[in-house]
Symmetry: C2
Subunit: 327 residues, 2 copies
């Protein structure tokens, strides 16, 4: 994408899953990339993630909640991808304050830093489908009420809304995307708390038995990380998108069982079994959930391009090759 | 209300406007009241507020964001009124982190304290009509989407949603009320940042010229504080209300000009003038806003009882008598 050539770009959480894939893509596009990451163990940072572009990016270890650091970091940046955050729904229920800090204070700090130092920056924020909670109607559309069912969903909703208010009240150019389940290379797979996709992939590679909660017929849409990176880049240059919170969505929803079956076919080993929901997981489960990305598509032309078969094949290959850095 | 007789009740923010009026009413109802207040200058605490019941309540100076203090304070309490917070929309735009702390960390701390120490407590939280933002339709109803237009509205929305999630996921009994403009004795009137009502009342008492932003035809519904206290008490004993976020609403909306005209008639002095909106105020103004309280009424029988004439007359009388403690 040529619009980023020569541009100064900051990525908070840039050593994490999506941030590092984005950084690699931006470097290839000719951008001048600064990564800011706190390396907090509860986030997804992995220094190996940026191995392909290590000599081409500036990495700053800094907490996105540190307003003084952030004020210095946003100066002169044309694009700020505000990705630092917590993604675990289950952890948000056991440690709600950490989730609150990383998903409200961090994005608010980035916004405040820009308000104070650089009002010309374009800020791209990653929200989540989880803000909708359980929905009686599907696919999820932006006009329906938000009813998050866990602390993470609430805090991400607040984080997203700050971006709307900073545009409306301060004229700071922002856009938020509500991501669905994202999978692909560079995701944290050390434990299961950052979503089922990465965890199932790891287990399948190890030939372990995957435990699917419930009957496995829960529908989800997923995106391969390259499609998400592409969406973020399109959102960034979509100058008419301001203050908007728009859905991404996968090509087509599939059940968890279908996802696992595709995965096991690729790894050629592993197995799966249905188990009852643990009560903590049940209480925050949203049932079927998939999003309409019609609005974002019509505004930017984005569409997911990588099929689940292709995406999982690439992911399995990546983790097999670089297993030592992720296991 | 006899249901509170002999009950252990905690009020966070209990030296503030609504909290102190609630405390006085609860003492009269025979409850054993503990007030927790941080006495932060940005909140509305005034030690004189509880003068009528000073010897009947326990006052603890503690920050509602202090989880260790809150864990100790919620032990043995049957009702927790979680009122500590910031109310200023304008201040939330200039100091968003303080608003975030008091309107998300504080109520979340109360909830966590109860989760850890006292899951049998009934928690009553005060949200705000402001979470709706600008609405194309009126009156505001609970089924419509929330679109807060300032940082305070976002944080109060998050605060309210935590109460829903703690009920759904942890079975902790909660209820939230979305308050409209509240006025009456014991409100902070030292400056104009806690809402127009208290500020206009002060100016009218002083015979000053009240500046109304815009053309003064903005519709608002207001509640006299005794009606709000009554609503909170009804919500507290409304055991079937769990996880709900319900609107309060005034008897009938009136324009800002009408409000001021009633007020000036009561004080017999003062004047008013229309002035253009300052840009900071314009950017977060919601236009006409008033709420339907049909749901809360049908569930609890609550209805606002004090007319604007009666409420303002009582308020003016109070501040004239105790001016020294508020000016």
């Amino acid at each position: 994408m040529d619009e980023y050539r020569g541009k100064q770009v900051l990525i908070t959480g840039g050593l994490g899953f999506i941030g590092s894939n984005l950084a690699i893509c931006l470097v290839k596009s000719g951008a001048s990339v600064t990564i800011c990451d706190s390396l907090e163990p509860t986030c997804g940072a992995n220094s190996f993630n940026i191995d392909p572009v290590r000599s081409d990016v500036t990495v700053i270890e800094a907490d996105a909640c540190d307003i003084d650091r952030m004020r210095r970091l946003v100066r002169g940046k044309e694009y700020v991808f505000s990705l630092a955050g917590h993604v675990s729904h289950s952890e948000s229920m056991t440690d709600p304050f950490s989730d609150l800090r990383m998903n409200t204070v961090a994005p608010l700090t980035v916004l405040e830093a820009c308000r104070q130092e650089n009002r010309d920056a374009r800020i791209i924020y990653t929200g989540t489908r989880q803000c909708y909670g359980r929905s009686a109607t599907l696919p999820l559309v932006e006009t329906q009420p938000l009813n998050p069912v866990d602390v993470n969903g609430i805090n991400k909703m607040a984080g997203e809304r700050y971006h709307n208010v900073y545009w409306m009240a301060h004229g700071i150019s922002t856009v938020s995307l509500r991501l669905v389940n994202t999978y692909g290379p560079r995701q944290l797979v050390k434990h299961s708390r950052q979503g089922f996709a990465g965890w199932f992939i790891r287990q399948a590679i190890d030939g372990e038995e995957i435990l699917i909660y419930g009957d496995g017929q829960q529908l989800r849409d997923l995106n391969y990380v390259d499609d998400v990176v592409n969406a973020l880049l399109l959102a960034g240059v979509g100058g008419t998108l301001n203050g908007e919170c728009l859905n991404l969505g996968g090509a087509a929803p599939l059940t968890l069982e279908e996802f696992v079956r595709v995965l096991l076919k690729i790894t050629g080993k592993g197995a799966f079994r249905f188990v009852p929901f643990p009560s903590e997981a049940r209480s925050i489960d949203v049932g079927n959930a998939y999003s309409s990305f019609e609005n974002f598509q019509s505004l930017t032309g984005w569409t997911p391009r990588i099929s689940i078969e292709e995406g999982l094949a690439r992911t399995v290959e990546y983790y097999r090759q670089y297993r030592a850095h992720y296991w």
